[in-house]
């Protein structure tokens, strides 16, 4: 009797193991949450210091077109207009996404609908390889190949938004393609069967049913690609020219939030306005990537397939 009582009331070895397992995994997740929260806190506090401590007007920062934090403008305020970089970032992101999307959809349709065998055996590994190439390699190729080509074809120095778009296009294409492939393969087989059984050709089935049903997934892929393009620093910095002025055309040197950040952060002193305003750029980047993430979530939720 006592034996049974003891066994029921005391925790068994298995129960304790379970407790330990739960605790360990909870600590791990807690660690990640703390790290993310710490990054947010750090970037936000540094980035907001520009406005709180140094008294820069937030709208001057967002919409000002002159960037030279070390010098003072005619009105006695430092020149902290980030609009050239914001415009540059959005331009390269949007342009590269616009160019990459049709290619990605075409490639994905080929890989899933037209020739799944070649797609799986040859194209999938190639795309995975492309994803794994370090961005400095893309940047270097951009610098030695794309920039001269742009210079010869369109004139100017070759550095600028156009060269940046080309490089980013190649960089995000594999990501967008493989995510589009996932979106197309997630379209249930019975949609295809129903369409074919009604006398549709394969092509009609693909564009009237499969692509249409996969729109949310494809949008997610594109937004994901845009998030990558927006955050890419190294490769874009090598080809865009890094002139913090409003881009006058696609082939004149420009800059992005990331390129100015990587250029400047090592050359400024912590705690000064020049440094803080760079953190403000970082804060913008962080908020944008948060925005992209939320967008992906929202689109993804809409596109779930009920079986």
């Amino acid at each position: 009797m006592e034996d049974i009582q003891r066994r029921l009331l005391q925790k068994s070895k298995k129960a304790r193991l379970e407790q330990i397992g739960k605790t360990v995994s909870f600590i791990c997740i807690l660690f990640i949450v703390v790290v993310v929260a710490a990054i947010f806190y750090f970037v936000m506090s540094k980035g907001l210091a520009t406005f709180v401590k140094d008294g820069v007007n937030f709208f001057d920062f967002l919409f000002g077109t002159e960037w030279s934090p070390g010098t003072v403008g005619a009105d006695g305020k430092p020149l902290t207009g980030a609009l050239p970089m914001i415009v540059g970032s959005f331009l390269v992101t949007l342009l590269s996404a616009i160019v990459a999307t049709p290619f990605a959809i075409g490639a994905a349709v080929f890989m899933t609908e037209i020739s799944p065998k070649i797609g799986k055996k040859i194209l999938q590994p190639v795309i995975e390889l492309l994803v794994g190439i370090p961005s400095v390699v893309y940047g270097f190729v951009g610098l030695t190949v794309v920039v001269p080509v742009v210079r010869r074809t369109f004139g100017g120095s070759g550095f600028g938004i156009l060269a940046g778009t080309f490089v980013l296009f190649v960089m995000i294409l594999p990501t967008v393609t493989s995510m589009t492939v996932d979106a197309l393969t997630a379209v249930p087989r019975h949609y295809r069967e129903a369409s074919l059984a009604l006398g549709a050709t394969r092509w009609q089935t693909t564009y009237k049913v499969v692509l249409r049903a996969a729109i949310p997934g494809i949008l997610t892929a594109v937004v994901f690609g845009m998030a990558r393009a927006f955050g890419e620093a190294l490769a874009i910095q090598m080809v865009i020219g890094n002139a913090a002025i409003m881009p006058a055309s696609l082939i004149t040197p420009a800059s992005t939030l990331t390129s100015i950040l990587t250029m400047g952060i090592g050359n400024t002193i912590m705690g000064t306005l020049e440094n803080n305003v760079l953190w403000s750029l970082a804060m913008l980047l962080l908020l944008m990537s948060l925005f992209f993430n939320i967008l992906i979530r929202i689109i993804g939720k809409k596109g779930e397939f009920k079986s």
Binding site: H190, Y191, E193, A194, L196, A197, L198, G199
Partner: protein, 248 residues
Amino acid sequence: MIESRDLHLFYGKKEALKGINLTINKGEITALIGPSGCGKSTFLRTLNRMNDLIPNVTITGNVLYNNENIYNPQTDIVELRKKIGMVFQQPNPFPFSVYENVVYGLKLEGKRPKEELDEIVETSLKDAAVWDDVKDKLDKSALALSGGQQQRVCIARVLAVKPEVILLDEPTSALDPVSSGKIENMLFELKHQYTMIIVTHNMQQASRISDRTAFFLDGKLIEFDKTKKIFLNPSEKKTEEYISGKFG
């Protein structure tokens, strides 16, 4: 109307159909019964060449449709599938509106005036006995309907392209008894307009609606006769055993 002659089908090396000879008459409902894995669905899918979609399938023998061999390399599969419609086991409406689901097959042919489409949608949905359920929801997503309604919309979608033959692959097995009953009645009503072949696990269903019944076992056609004969006085012992529930 449809005649299969010595039809063999292999999935890889596995023989799933072992020489089927079967003639289907115009304007009748033919039921295909048999235990799971006996090849009845596979046979059904050979009739509109849906098995073409599965890799590693080899088919020998002939299937004659209006005296043309549909396995002739010159056969236009797209045309064939317009003439021989199919309803699947799981209701599978497209994730579009009810209206778009029904006109899907028609729009493949090219543009048509709106009034004509409207009229076809109405008659198809009426024939499929689902008009009253969906007439106010034509522009709502078909996925929001109940399973039984979805299946009837799928049938309407097939009726809209005006096929001669309709293949039904266990159309009611995923549905509740009330919905199943509605679909059975509807099929019975449509009998004089279409030739239908229905795969079913439900013996009562086969006996209620079909004119002829084919009993499949292990990829072979064991017996094929008038439904009454099969259910009341089968000539094969296996058929009798299956129908009386001794196996399967």
